[in-house]
C-alpha cells in the first residue's frame, strides 16, 4: 500500500547559544493511510519535536533539520494547515480566548474549504455535534473560558478536523484531563478516526493509553527510536531493556499492590550531552562495556525492530 507518510532519517536540533541540542536523531518510519501510530517517550525524548516536524510546524529560526518527510499517498507533499490536523495537550492555550468557538472553527472552514461565512458557521455546528457537544448551535457563541477542560478538547478536536485532514496528530490530548474525561476523549478520538478514515499519530508518555488506541508503537529515548513494532507485542513482550523497564514500572488498577514498585534508576541524559554509545546504557540493567563505546545498531526491519546492541549481535550471529 502507498504510505500516507514516510519519514526518512529525520533529525532536528535546537540552537542553544553556540551549540546545537539534538532533539530528534535520524528517525525513520512509514505510516499507511488510516493507520495509528503511538509515539511514546518521556519528557525530552524528542516525541513532540518529531510530531511537530511531521506536521511542518517547527519554527525556522534556531532549528537545524535534515532528512525528509514525504506524503506518497498525497502526491508527495501535504498542504499546509489542511492535510494534517493537530491537537495539543492544553486546549486553553491552543484556542483563541477572544474569539467564540463558532468563529474559530468557521474561520478554518472559510480558509481551507472555501465556504461562505454562513455555510462555515453551519459546518461549525455540525462539527461540534460530531464531537459530542450538547446543543451545538448554542455553543457557537461560547468562548473557550466558558467551557470545561473536556469540552475545550472537544472543540480543539472539531477545529483540527474542520479542514478534512488525512492525518490527525494528538500530542498528549488527555494528559490535562481527569480519568473520566480522559476516557471520553479517547473514545471520541477512536470513533472520529474510524468514521472519517483518519490516520492517527498519538504522542504520549502513557503506555496504557497508547496500547488502547494505536496499532503501532514507537518508543523514543534521547531522540532515538528505541523500539518500533506492533504495540500489542511491545507491551506483552518488550524487547528493549528500556521498554521492559517501563512495562515493569507500569501500574494496573486490577493488580494488587506489591511491597516495592519496580523502579528505573537514574534520569535521562541531559540534552546536548555527548553520548558515544547507547543513551540508555547508564540506566540499563543489561549494559556491557560495548554499550558505552559504540552506538547500538538497528536490529530488525524498518517497521519492527530494536535499537539495542544485544539484538544487533544476536542478528549478526544468525546472519
Amino acid at each position: 500500500m502507498t504510505a500516507l507518510l514516510s519519514a526518512d532519517d529525520v533529525s532536528v536540533a535546537y540552537r542553544d547559544g553556540a551549540r546545537w541540542l539534538q532533539a530528534v536523531d535520524r528517525v525513520s518510519f512509514a505510516l499507511p493511510p488510516k493507520a495509528r501510530l503511538a509515539i511514546m517517550g518521556e519528557s525530552g525524548s524528542g516525541k513532540t519535536t518529531l510530531a511537530l516536524a511531521i506536521a511542518d510546524l517547527l519554527p525556522h529560526d534556531g532549528i537545524r533539520r535534515s532528512g525528509a518527510v514525504r506524503w506518497p499517498a498525497l502526491g508527495g507533499a501535504a498542504r499546509p494547515g489542511r492535510d494534517v490536523g493537530f491537537v495539543f495537550q492544553d486546549p486553553m492555550s491552543s484556542l483563541n480566548p477572544v474569539l467564540s468557538v463558532g468563529e474559530q472553527i468557521a474561520e478554518v472552514a472559510v480558509t481551507h474549504l472555501g465556504l461562505s461565512w454562513p455555510a462555515a458557521l453551519d459546518r461549525a455546528a455540525e462539527l461540534l455535534d460530531r464531537v459530542g457537544l450538547p446543543r451545538p448551535r448554542d455553543r457557537l457563541t461560547s468562548f473557550p473560558h466558558e467551557l470545561s477542560g473536556g469540552q475545550r478538547q472537544r472543540v480543539a478536536l472539531a477545529m483540527a478536523i474542520t479542514a478534512e485532514p488525512k492525518l490527525l496528530i494528538a500530542d498528549e490530548p488527555t494528559s490535562a484531563l481527569d480519568t473520566l474525561t480522559q476516557a471520553q476523549i479517547v473514545h471520541l478520538l477512536d470513533r472520529l478516526a474510524t468514521e472519517i478514515g483518519l490516520a492517527l499519530v498519538l504522542v504520549t508518555h502513557d503506555l496504557a493509553l497508547a496500547a488502547n488506541l494505536a496499532g503501532t508503537g514507537m518508543l523514543m529515548y534521547a531522540g532515538r527510536v528505541a523500539e518500533l513494532g506492533p504495540i500489542e507485542t511491545m507491551v506483552s513482550a518488550p524487547r528493549h531493556p528500556y521498554l521492559q523497564a517501563l512495562v515493569a514500572a507500569s501500574l494496573d488498577p486490577d493488580r494488587p499492590p506489591t511491597d516495592r514498585l519496580a523502579e528505573i534508576p537514574g534520569i535521562p541524559p541531559q540534552p546536548g550531552a555527548a553520548i558515544p554509545g547507547c543513551a540508555f546504557e547508564p540506566r540499563c540493567p543489561r549494559a556491557r562495556s560495548a554499550c558505552r563505546s559504540r552506538p547500538p545498531g538497528w536490529a530488525g526491519t524498518p517497521a519492527d525492530g530494536v535499537d539495542c546492541i544485544q539484538f544487533d549481535q544476536l542478528a549478526a550471529v544468525h546472519r
Binding site: 519528557s43 484531563l177 480519568t179 496500547a211 514500572a249 501500574l251 499492590p257 528505573i264 540506566r283
Partner: protein, 259 residues
C-alpha cells in the same frame, strides 16, 4: 483503637453567592490514622482540592469540624495555629511552580527548617544535608536552582521542604501525575520508605486509580462535594459499591486488554 490523627466531620464549603453559589463540599466526614495512606479520589470538580485546602487551613469552612491530634483546628489562632501548621504540610502536583525560581535548593530547604523546624544557623547546613539524604538527593544539588533540576529531582525537593518541619501528615495533591513513568516509581517508593521510617500519614489526592491501588491503605471516593464510598483499598477495588467508583476504575487505561 486509638483516636485518629485527623478527624473531619460535617465539613461544608460554598463559593460565590446568590445564583452563582456553588457548594464545593456538602457535609464531608473523614478520618486519617497515624501512619496510613488515605487516597482521596474523584473527577475534577468533585471537591478533592477544596477539602485539602480546608484541612491545611488555607481557606475557612462554612461549617463542620476539623480535629488534628485531639486539637480543634478551626479554633486555633495566631501562634497556636502557626505551631499546628508545622504538623501538616502539602506537596503540590507541579514541582516547578511550587518552588521559588530564584532560590537555590539550600535556601529552599533552610527556610522551612528555620521557620517551622526550629533549627538555627549553626546546624542548618547539616540539617539541609540530612534532608537531602532523606529524599536521596546528592548533596552537590544544594547549590542548584529549580530550573537546573529534573522533574523528579524537583519533586524530591518539594517533599524535603514539606518534611522540614517534622510533620505527622502530608497532603499530597497529585504528587506524581506530572512525572514521567520512569521517575514515578522512584518517588512512590521514596514516599513509602519515608512513611515507614517516620510514621507519617498521607492524604494522597489523585484521579489515577492505578496509582491509588499501588499506594493506598484506604480509599475515599468523592463526587459532587460528598464522600460517596470509603473503605480499604482491597474492598474498594474488588467490590466497588458506588457507580462513581466503578466508573473511575473502568475508565483507567490498562496496558493489556482484558482476556
Amino acid at each position: 483503637m486509638s483516636a485518629p490523627l485527623l478527624a473531619v466531620s460535617g465539613l461544608v464549603k460554598a463559593f460565590g453567592a446568590g445564583s452563582r453559589r456553588v457548594v464545593a463540599l456538602d457535609g464531608v466526614d473523614l478520618e486519617i490514622n497515624a501512619g496510613e495512606t488515605l487516597a482521596l479520589v474523584g473527577p475534577s470538580g468533585s471537591g478533592k482540592t477544596t477539602l485539602a485546602r480546608l484541612i491545611l487551613r488555607l481557606i475557612e469552612p462554612d461549617g463542620g469540624r476539623i480535629v488534628f491530634a485531639g486539637t480543634d483546628l478551626l479554633s486555633c489562632r495566631g501562634e497556636a495555629l502557626r505551631r499546628m501548621r508545622a504538623r501538616f504540610q502539602m506537596v503540590f502536583q507541579d514541582p516547578l511552580s511550587a518552588l521559588n525560581p530564584l532560590a537555590a535548593v539550600q535556601r529552599l530547604l533552610a527556610d522551612p527548617l528555620r521557620i517551622h523546624g526550629g533549627k538555627t544557623t549553626a546546624t542548618i547546613d547539616a540539617d539541609v544535608a540530612s534532608l537531602l539524604e532523606l529524599v536521596r538527593l546528592s548533596p552537590e544539588l544544594a547549590g542548584r536552582h529549580p530550573h537546573e533540576l529534573s522533574g523528579g529531582q524537583r519533586q524530591r525537593v518539594n517533599i524535603a521542604r514539606a518534611l522540614a518541619s517534622g510533620p505527622e501528615l502530608l497532603v499530597l495533591d497529585e504528587p506524581v501525575s506530572a512525572l514521567d513513568i520512569s521517575v514515578r516509581a522512584q518517588i512512590l517508593n521514596l514516599l513509602r520508605d519515608i512513611q515507614r521510617s517516620r510514621g507519617l500519614a498521607y492524604l494522597f489526592i489523585s484521579h489515577d486509580m492505578a496509582v491509588v491501588r499501588a499506594v493506598a491503605d484506604r480509599v475515599a471516593v468523592m463526587d459532587h462535594g460528598r464522600i460517596v464510598e470509603q473503605g480499604s483499598v482491597e474492598a474498594v477495588f474488588t467490590q466497588p459499591a458506588h457507580d462513581q467508583t466503578r466508573a473511575l476504575i473502568a475508565a483507567t487505561p490498562r496496558l493489556r486488554r482484558a482476556g
